[in-house]
């Protein structure tokens, strides 16, 4: 009963999965568990050389076989080096699985074809069992093709833009879900089985509920906060249980009994709007307690039954409404009034929400958390447990994706902290994929009515947007409000509503509100162009005053993809079309951003309580400091994802690079000045020769400086709000041009090529910036064509709770993407550039919609553009 794992013989257990055995018994945590059902490929290992999903493989099947995990590839397989060099990853959680499968493919390819690059289709086919939620497929295609061509067999390659890339490609990077080992207890969450009910009693079964009682390894149970004692959706956390092993914890959780007094539930938004429908929040107090999914504080709004709103943003709103009403009465052909809907999009980062909590002897709390806001976890945890902020230590060394859902004190953190207190042991809580897809956060579905009116000369005369957010029990939709930022100063009325139902709450997701507005508005603009018998680009160039986008429109006009697009009615089964869409986003910043530089062992260590969720901020900090200091990259070590240092920004609001980068530059300048004081030979600017650098740093051992972000010229647009969030001056812009091929027989849309132009000022790391933009195209394609959370209409139970039924785009579903940066327009910002993580995500689905219309003459109104909808539309 033996197996050979990475060249070592070891025994094989009779039960459990191969993945569990490799990770927990052998400590080979490079093999990741993300879906547990053989869909995502993160757990792929080679069994006798063949890529195998180890999460499905019974451990006993390893008997007599030879297993190679990502660790067994040694870190210097050509594919691993190619992945680092081509930046074929973001968060890195899926990377080991991709690397293992790609290594097998590359070796086989070269044996069969020699050292020639494999094509996109062949690579997509070989890697079709893998999903990257960040969407780093462009880099993956490039890396695998280059490795096939033999470009990474020998030779030195320059340091990769992402300094942790080699660790991620080798499976050495340890994420929160990898840290518990055998010593931490496993915590599981007990969730509501009722859509709407008062919780009468939570009976712990045989679990103990107080610290220091009972046997040391008896399971423990804690209640989780249920505000006002009412659960409002199936899957709402009610309690949590921990035990020394996962199996024991699940058994103990099964014995927890929750007594409910059921209340009438309301599942659909139509039903919720009906007079006399059961109310989720019958009192003012209950309404105030409704969770909100906005990133900034949600402004107050009136309620009527289950409907909240409108929240109104207007510019000469009465004029806009008058003009639109008159145009409607007169049946004005230049009035475009349409309704568009979007489906709930689930964040579903491949590393699930996870926390590992330990209470120290001195009463302080140590938390390892998969979070995008280290600092906010400190603040909120301190408030929750009545500690001073200095008594909470939060670490997030590597974070397997976030997209907005991993902010603050999420359920996993509360549960782990509470359970660890009662258990007197370290406790880890890691959500299952099912929990992640049910209650891990989502971009709420929307229903948006948009009306545009143009005059005979084609000028925009009025705009109205009424949008309804379908965020389950939560509120905070801001779709219509974003209409204030686009298409000049024409009169407009923008109203946002929320309709609450007994379904899980939303969470902020990459450019909250942006993609649904663009989906509606950008298609309405194309419709208007059609009515005006005008090219959609020409119309936008007239309506859109944003100087960055105007520069991008000039590029689009010369783009072969746009210029040479097919014209006229298309026929045949497969029809090609090209569409474009504009994106706008606010420039946000973190005014408090700081970076500490310390000279340690003759090198520079950069520290800050920020975190890298795949954005590449680790690389930006390192390269910025190195460049300003005149030192090679290798002399700067970046240690982030730890709260025990200076303040760093949370990874939301596209703020990391534009906030942390200038703070790092400032810190490097200070360090340089200090080094010059001690060591006058140190030059004031430019590269420093290694000898001088070494002497200066040796002499300055222990020196520490802190750099802070300089303020923008002309200051900020808003003061700093909670969360170290402020809005700066100037809007970022993007334009996407998308080509699709529509199979009119089977109703499938295949995006083939995409051009993404970004106006975000100066870009600090071109390759990593491109990666973000490419990833946003992937997520936008998912939003446009595949992703849709489904629920049972009677109970609200989420049915799409695995990655087969919740469909993320795979490598074969995404367009070949080219990215262009227009690097002007933010000279008032230190570093001359702003963030791009959100603006690049806004208009992707809208561009797909316009391309589908261009190809077929049918305009999609509902997302996702499923085969059934397309076939119905083409009938």
């Amino acid at each position: 009963m033996d197996t050979d794992v990475n060249g070592r013989r070891c025994p094989v257990p009779e039960s459990g999965t191969a993945a569990g055995h490799l990770r927990e018994e052998l400590g080979l945590t490079g093999t990741k568990l993300a879906c547990g059902s053989g869909v995502c490929g993160a757990c792929t290992v080679l069994v006798d050389g063949s890529p195998t999903a180890s999460c499905l493989l019974p451990a006993d099947r390893l008997t007599g076989r030879t297993v190679t995990t990502v660790e067994g590839l040694g870190g210097d397989h050509p594919v691993q080096r190619a992945f680092s060099d081509h930046d074929a990853m973001q968060c890195g959680f899926c990377t080991p699985g991709f690397v293992v499968a790609a290594a097998a493919f590359t070796d086989r390819w070269r044996a069969e074809h020699g050292d020639v690059p494999a094509g996109r289709e062949e690579i997509a086919e070989a890697l079709s069992g893998h999903l990257c939620r960040c969407g780093a497929y462009e880099g993956i295609f490039a890396a695998v093709a280059a490795a096939c061509a033999g470009e990474y067999d020998v030779g030195e390659h320059p340091a990769p833009p992402r300094p942790d890339a080699p660790d991620k490609a080798a499976g050495r990077a340890r994420f929160t879900t990898d840290l518990g080992g055998n010593s931490a207890w496993e915590g599981v969450i007990v969730r509501s089985t009722e859509p709407h009910a008062r919780v009468l009693k939570v009976v712990p079964g045989r679990a103990r509920t107080e610290p220091g009682t009972g046997e040391a390894d008896e399971p423990v149970m804690v209640p989780l906060p249920v505000p006002d004692g009412v659960v409002r959706y199936v899957g709402q956390p009610v309690a949590a249980v921990a035990a020394p092993t996962a199996e024991q914890a699940h058994r103990a959780a099964g014995r927890v009994q929750v007594d409910y007094e059921p209340l009438p539930a309301v599942i659909g938004t139509g039903e919720a709007r009906r007079p006399g429908a059961p109310q989720l929040y019958p009192t003012t107090e209950a309404r105030d307690g409704a969770p909100a999914y906005g990133e900034a504080p949600t402004p107050p709004a009136p309620w009527s039954g289950n409907v909240r709103g409108p929240g109104v943003v207007s510019r000469r709103g009465a004029t806009a409404v008058d003009r639109l009403r008159r145009a409607h009465r007169n049946e004005d052909p230049l009035l475009v009034a349409q309704e568009y809907t979007t489906a709930a999009q689930v964040h579903s980062a491949l590393e699930p929400h996870a926390a590992l909590a330990r209470w120290e002897q001195d009463g302080s709390l140590s938390l390892e958390v998969s979070t995008q806001t280290v600092r906010k976890v400190v603040t909120k945890a301190a408030a929750h447990w009545g500690l001073a902020p200095g008594q909470v230590h939060v670490r997030a060394a590597h974070v397997g994706g976030g997209f907005g859902a991993k902010q603050g004190l999420t359920t996993d953190v509360v549960a782990a902290g509470e359970l660890a207190r009662v258990a007197g042991a370290a406790v880890q809580v890691r959500l299952s994929r099912s929990e992640e897809l049910i209650d891990g956060g989502h971009r709420p579905g929307t229903r948006t009515k948009v009306a545009l009116l143009a005059d005979r000369r084609g000028r925009l005369r009025a705009m109205a947007v009424d949008s309804e957010g379908d965020g389950g029990v939560s509120v905070g939709s801001n779709v219509a409000a974003l209409g204030a930022l686009v298409y000049g100063r024409a009169p407009r009325r923008l109203r946002d509503f929320d309709v609450v139902t007994n379904r899980p709450p939303g969470a902020p997701m990459r450019a909250p509100g942006g993609p649904p507005l663009a989906w509606a508005l950008e298609q309405a603009v194309d419709t208007m162009a059609e009515r005006l018998r005008e090219d959609p680009l020409t119309l936008r160039r007239r309506w859109d005053g944003n100087p960055k986008r105007r520069a991008l429109y000039r590029k689009v006009a010369d783009l072969p993809l746009w210029r040479d697009r097919p014209r006229g009615a298309r026929t045949g089964r497969f029809r090609r079309g090209v569409g474009l869409a504009a994106s706008t986003w606010m420039y946000m910043l973190a005014p408090q951003a700081r970076v500490e530089l310390r000279v340690v062992d003759g090198a520079v260590v950069a520290r800050s309580a920020t975190q890298d969720i795949g954005t590449g901020i680790r690389g930006v900090l390192g390269s910025t400091v190195a460049e300003r200091l005149g030192a090679p990259n290798a002399w700067v070590h970046v240690e982030i994802g730890d709260s025990d240092t200076v303040h760093g920004t949370g990874a939301f609001g596209s703020r990391s690079t534009t906030s942390m980068g200038p703070a790092a530059a400032e810190a490097a300048d200070r360090l340089r000045a200090s080094l010059r004081e001690r060591f006058p030979e140190f030059p004031a600017s430019g590269p420093v020769d290694e000898h001088t650098l070494k002497e200066a740093l040796t002499a300055a051992e222990g020196l520490s400086v802190v750099g802070q972000r300089r303020t923008d010229r002309w200051g900020q647009l808003t003061p700093s709000m909670a969360n170290d969030l402020a809005v700066g001056r100037g809007l970022s812009g993007a334009v996407h041009v998308m080509e699709v091929e529509v199979d009119t027989l089977l109703g499938r849309v295949r995006p083939t090529r995409c051009w993404a132009g970004l106006g975000v000022g100066r870009v600090r790391s071109e390759r990593m910036a491109r990666n973000q933009v490419e990833g946003a195209v992937v997520q936008g394609v998912g939003y446009a064509l595949f992703e849709e959370r489904r629920h049972d209409p009677a109970t609200g139970t989420v049915l799409s709770d695995d990655l087969e039924d919740y469909r993320l785009p795979g490598p074969g579903d995404v367009p070949e993407t080219r990215v262009h940066f227009h690097q002007e327009g933010f000279e008032h910002v230190p570093g001359s550039g702003v963030g791009l993580g959100e603006v690049c995500a806004v208009g992707v689905a809208a561009a797909v919609g316009n391309a589908v219309h261009d190809a077929t003459g049918w305009r999609p109104h509902a997302l996702p553009v499923r085969p059934d909808r397309l076939l119905e539309g083409l009938r």
């Binding site: 009779e14 079709s128 009677a794 709770d801 085969p867």
Partner: protein, 321 residues
Amino acid sequence: MILRPADVDEALAHLGTGALARAGHTGAAPPEPPVGADVVDLTGVEGLRGVQPGPEGSVRVGAATTVAELAADAGLARSHPALVRTAGALATPEVRASATLGGNLLQRNRCAYLRNPAFSCLQDGGHGCPARGGDHSRGVVMDAGGCVEPHPSSLAVALLAQGAQVELACPEGRRRVEAHELFSSGSGAGDHVLGPSELVVAVHLPAKFEDERVGHLRASSRSRAEWPLVEAVARLDVPAGTVERARVAVGAVAREPLRLPQVEEALIGTRAERGAGEGVERAVAQVRQGGTPLPLTGYKVALLGAAVRGVIEEALADPGR
């Protein structure tokens, strides 16, 4: 305890004591066997593996042959291309490497209600079907009452098109049945008609057509790695450019894979270079008219018609091998 029988008789003896059969173990999140239950691992059983040529162009494929082996078998690609293409298009390379022919035929259906322990239905010993009044948007279009989840096996569709027979073994002996006899459109529980102590041992494929042309088509939203909304397989015998024999099968539309005899008949006499004629169109329209869709599966009736037309066009245009 994991039992590793050496041959079929030993495997059957274990199954007779109530042990649970295990093959590729790739069903999405397969249930852990109850604690203490015996598991019979079938992957090492002699006679269950491999592709063996038989008399007169027929082929025997062992039930524990993996889908990847099927898809990569060069001889089978020449003799039975419809099966090979179907095998190569299902699931993902990782799943195909573990999944077996027998497991694919006998797999459990994919209903989200069945997977969710909060719901009970006639598939798990309860009554009724929560999907019928709930979300059944990927459900059947040939409603026979009862469960509304389509049969999940792609290979079953291909086997119907291949005219395959399935060799079964039970303690009383062995027998062969036509592939469609493994399945039932009835309203009962389960996704096949095998008893707990019966095994699929092998599949027997009759010889290819003289001038065989094939088509295979999966309708889905993503390009790969997705359960089909409709799947269609066509095999035509086209000596001298005229269809003389035809087998057309479809999946994901009913509780069992289906052959379409009226379409097959209509295809006889079709000139390949002229494409499907009016008779075939009429037969496809009949298939559509025979659909009894659920409230949310009306679109699948149209998709079924489109897929059948598409797969016939593909087969007629197939250069053959």
